[in-house]
């Protein structure tokens, strides 16, 4: 039940976008209030994850990455910035790099299928000691040590970096597969086939990404979010 409430809230963040900041703020406030009322909840980790995702969504939202209604509201907003062209270029640039990052990752994954010979230890019997020319710069060594232990001390602060979040790429692939087979569907319909809140989150993010890339169009009405395959690409 809680999770449904959260998803509802996230949906309003996504779809009911309003240039009125207070709307977004209210939504976030509600979202966070709902965590507070769950005092002593054992699932605090799940919620923490959710807050993280919610804030990522909010961030994406804040960057106006999502296409708005027909009146291209975001253009007006870009106008507000001193240098419209620069802002637009950056927007494109960001979209580009975001996509390239994923393309590069799949290329790296592919190349990692070829595993390298690892027999360096055999040189130990060939040479008394590996004769590798290197020096350890003391200052660098200590500054690295300091940095790594500082990081460890504050590891809570950026644990999310390595946190085992749902694999977005897999979710996107699955999501697009569903869209390809159904052409038109709704977010609710997709949720029905899922087994866990984690998957729901992943699919929600996948929906965002797909909208962002222009693979699908999403509309919200009183029933829910309708998703339609986009043929413009």
């Amino acid at each position: 039940m809680e999770i449904n409430y959260l998803i509802e809230n996230l949906k309003s963040l996504l779809i009911k976008y309003s240039s009125d900041k207070t709307q977004v703020e209210e939504n976030l406030f509600e979202l966070f209030s709902s965590f507070q009322t769950k005092e002593g909840n054992q699932n605090i980790e799940n919620f923490a994850e959710f807050v993280l995702l919610a804030s990522s969504l909010f961030e994406i939202k804040a960057r106006r990455m999502l296409p708005q209604d027909d009146d291209v509201e975001w253009m007006d907003e870009v106008e507000i910035l001193k240098d419209k062209d620069l802002a637009f270029a950056r927007l494109l640039q960001f979209r580009a790099f975001s996509e390239i990052g994923i393309a590069m990752a799949s290329r790296i994954k592919n190349s990692e299928n070829q595993i390298k010979a690892f027999k360096y230890y055999q040189t130990k019997s060939l040479f008394p000691r590996p004769d590798v020319n290197y020096i350890i710069e003391r200052d660098k060594f200590f500054s690295v040590a300091k940095e790594v232990f500082t990081r460890y001390k504050t590891i809570e602060g950026f644990k999310h970096i390595d946190k085992d979040l749902p694999d977005l790429q897999i979710a996107i692939d699955q999501f697009l597969k569903i869209i390809d087979s159904r052409l038109t569907t709704s977010f609710e319909e997709i949720l029905r086939d899922l087994n866990s809140s984690r998957e729901a989150i992943a699919f929600f993010l996948a929906l965002l990404e797909a909208v962002r890339w222009g693979f699908v169009k999403a509309d919200q009405d009183s029933i829910g979010i309708t998703i339609e395959k986009s043929y413009e690409l």
Partner: protein, 174 residues
């Protein structure tokens, strides 16, 4: 000297790939001859159905397993350099790759968010490194991709990175 024998075994026990330059200098042979030796080794390995071969590009060579047995080797596969890397980290990696050398500020500007932790994560993975400082007040640190990044991308220099446009020729049509 039996080059085939010595070169194949050096590739076996080397830590990482070996620059062609190393063989050319030590064995006083030319690049054509060296590539011919690689090819001879590879033919032998293939004919005899051994599961590895010499993979080489314009710069270096190494012994690696064939792609067609990836599934069977999965127990021996080292953890991926990408393990646990988030989308933000990948974004940051792509910006460093294409804009290098690049400062933290520039990366943050492009992404629209503070990018220090992503840069640190990528640096700790060995995918990027500090490559110098910018000659302006404050001397901000410049980041570049590493040799490991090239290896992982399966290219021999950053000039071989695909042209940006190739990734998404669709954007302009939107």
């Amino acid at each position: 000297m039996n080059y085939k024998k010595v070169i194949s075994s050096i590739l076996l026990i080397s830590d990482g790939s070996i620059d062609h330059e190393y063989f050319l200098e030590n064995f006083k042979i030319d690049k054509n001859k060296l590539f011919k030796i690689y090819e001879e080794v590879n033919e032998s390995l293939k004919e005899n159905e051994l599961g590895f071969y010499i993979k080489y590009n314009e710069v270096s060579a190494d012994l690696v397993t064939s792609k067609d047995i990836t599934e069977e080797l999965k127990n021996f596969k080292p953890p991926s350099v990408l393990r646990g890397l988030s989308t933000p980290a990948l974004e940051t990696l792509s910006i460093v790759a294409y804009e290098q050398p690049v400062t933290k500020l520039k990366v943050s500007e492009i992404r629209g968010v503070e990018s220090e932790s992503s840069l640190k994560t990528l640096e700790a993975r060995g995918l990027i490194e500090k490559s110098g400082v910018l000659d302006i007040p404050g001397n901000p640190i410049l980041y570049s991709t590493t040799q490991l990044f090239l290896e992982k991308m399966d290219i021999s220099s950053i000039d071989e990175l695909p042209i940006l446009g190739d990734y998404f020729s669709n954007i302009e049509e939107e």
